[in-house]
């Protein structure tokens, strides 16, 4: 029997062995950590094992994911091996690594991908980049910049964060560069609905997650009011429904 060359044989891509889900750090104040807090609770409901990395070392106040999840591993991504922590966490056994990057993460992350991607990919790891956009065109530009740097080495999840009510995403929906991004890089999109200040502000102040508010497990009086609890339950329900739609980007 004639032996087949490697070129003649075509094998389907092997199933991934791990997935790294990270927020595209760039412009600050877009709600990355708020979204990530909801994502982590979704993973908890799914029963999916994960490792949580807080790479937002510059945000020492109440804006980082550690504020919501104190056990998150803090990583200084501005060292030469900072993002190697992705691989380290996978090596330790977590099939999913969830990383919240800081506002200044772009250049460092792009260099890491250029240097490490091929090797990491060969080990079966896949990446999901989460870009948050708001009505601010700068948020869209940030997502597009990441796309230009990472191209198709990652899968993209765009989260439309309605920080105003109503929220106008026309820069994302109608601009030519954004259309090209969608055409070439095929992002999936979900929407995070507007949250009333009476829920959002004390939640951020006290590091309270939607689950904690919805389940009345906080000690903060403002967050135990019935209307606040009901709102949190609705926000959780709607966010989880959105995440369910894109679970192929979030799970193995």
């Amino acid at each position: 029997m004639a032996s087949a060359t490697k070129e003649a044989l075509k094998f389907p891509a092997p199933a991934p062995t791990g997935r790294v889900i990270f927020t595209e750090g760039g412009k600050g104040g877009l709600g990355k950590s708020t979204f990530m807090a909801g994502l982590i609770e979704w993973y908890q409901v799914q029963g999916a094992p994960y490792a949580l990395l807080d790479m937002d070392t510059e945000n020492k106040a109440r804006g980082s994911i550690s504020h919501f999840f104190p056990k998150a591993r803090k990583v200084n991504m501005h060292t030469s091996e900072g993002l190697d922590s992705f691989v380290d966490a996978l090596d330790e056994g977590a099939p999913l690594v969830v990383a919240d990057m800081g506002a200044g993460a772009g250049a460092v992350a792009h260099r890491w991908f250029d240097a490490m991607y091929t090797s990491v990919k060969e080990s079966g790891v896949v990446f999901t980049a989460i870009g948050l956009i708001t009505p601010d065109p700068a948020s869209v530009e940030s997502v597009l910049s990441w796309g230009a740097a990472l191209q198709d080495r990652v899968q993209y999840l765009v989260v439309k964060n309605s920080i105003t009510d109503p929220a106008d995403f026309s820069y994302w929906e109608q601009s030519t560069p954004a259309r090209e991004f969608r055409r070439l890089l095929n992002p999936q999109e979900i929407t995070m609905e507007y949250r009333l200040p009476k829920v959002e502000h004390p939640a951020r102040e006290h590091g309270a997650t939607l689950n904690q508010i919805a389940d009345r497990s906080t000690v903060v009086a403002d967050l135990n009011q019935s209307t606040v609890v009901m709102r949190a339950q609705a926000y959780r329900r709607n966010l989880f429904a959105e995440l369910d739609r894109v679970k192929d980007l979030l799970l193995l």
Binding site: P137, V140, E141, S142, L144, S145, G147, A148, Q151, S170, Y171, S175, P177, R179, E180, F181, R182, R183, L184, L185, N186, Q188, E189
Partner: protein, 146 residues
């Protein structure tokens, strides 16, 4: 055999005895065909269209179904094949002794057959890998609001 040759009695009887096939079920995407194709021409990805159909019309469709639908209804991008004057096929007229000059009817029949009997459509040439290009300095989004 000519395309519109008369049936003999036996075949005619069979033809008349077979009822019409039931109408094929229309794709649930068909009512939205114009919109779907317009979105595609606007540059929206199939995945995005899939999401929009679910959001706007509560219409859930598999990605592969949508892909097939769009491919089958998109206008052909390759040019019409050149008319080919093939060798005369065995028609009633061709039973006559071959003539040096083909009649207009024969030419039309050959062209008709050439259109019908196309060679399998070749795959469009592979496009070079496209990269997404964006520079915030060069491609800054035009601000329309204060």
């Amino acid at each position: 055999m000519q395309m519109d040759e008369e049936l003999d009695e036996i075949h005619e009887a069979v033809y008349k005895s077979v009822p019409d096939d039931p109408p094929t079920r229309q794709s649930k995407l068909e009512p939205h065909r114009v919109l779907i194709l317009k979105w595609k021409r606007d540059g929206r990805s199939l995945r995005r269209i899939q999401i929009l159909l679910a959001e706007k019309f509560d219409l859930k469709v598999a990605y592969s179904t949508l892909q097939t639908f769009v491919q089958s209804r998109s206008k052909p991008t390759k040019p019409e094949p050149e008319l080919i004057e093939s060798e005369p096929v065995a028609t009633v007229a061709a039973m006559d002794p071959p003539k040096q000059k083909r009649s207009a009817e024969e030419k039309a029949a050959n062209i008709k057959l050439a259109r019908y009997d196309r060679s399998p459509a070749s795959e469009p040439p592979a496009t070079p890998e496209e990269r997404f290009k964006f520079s915030p300095e060069r491609d800054r989004l035009k601000r329309t609001k204060d």
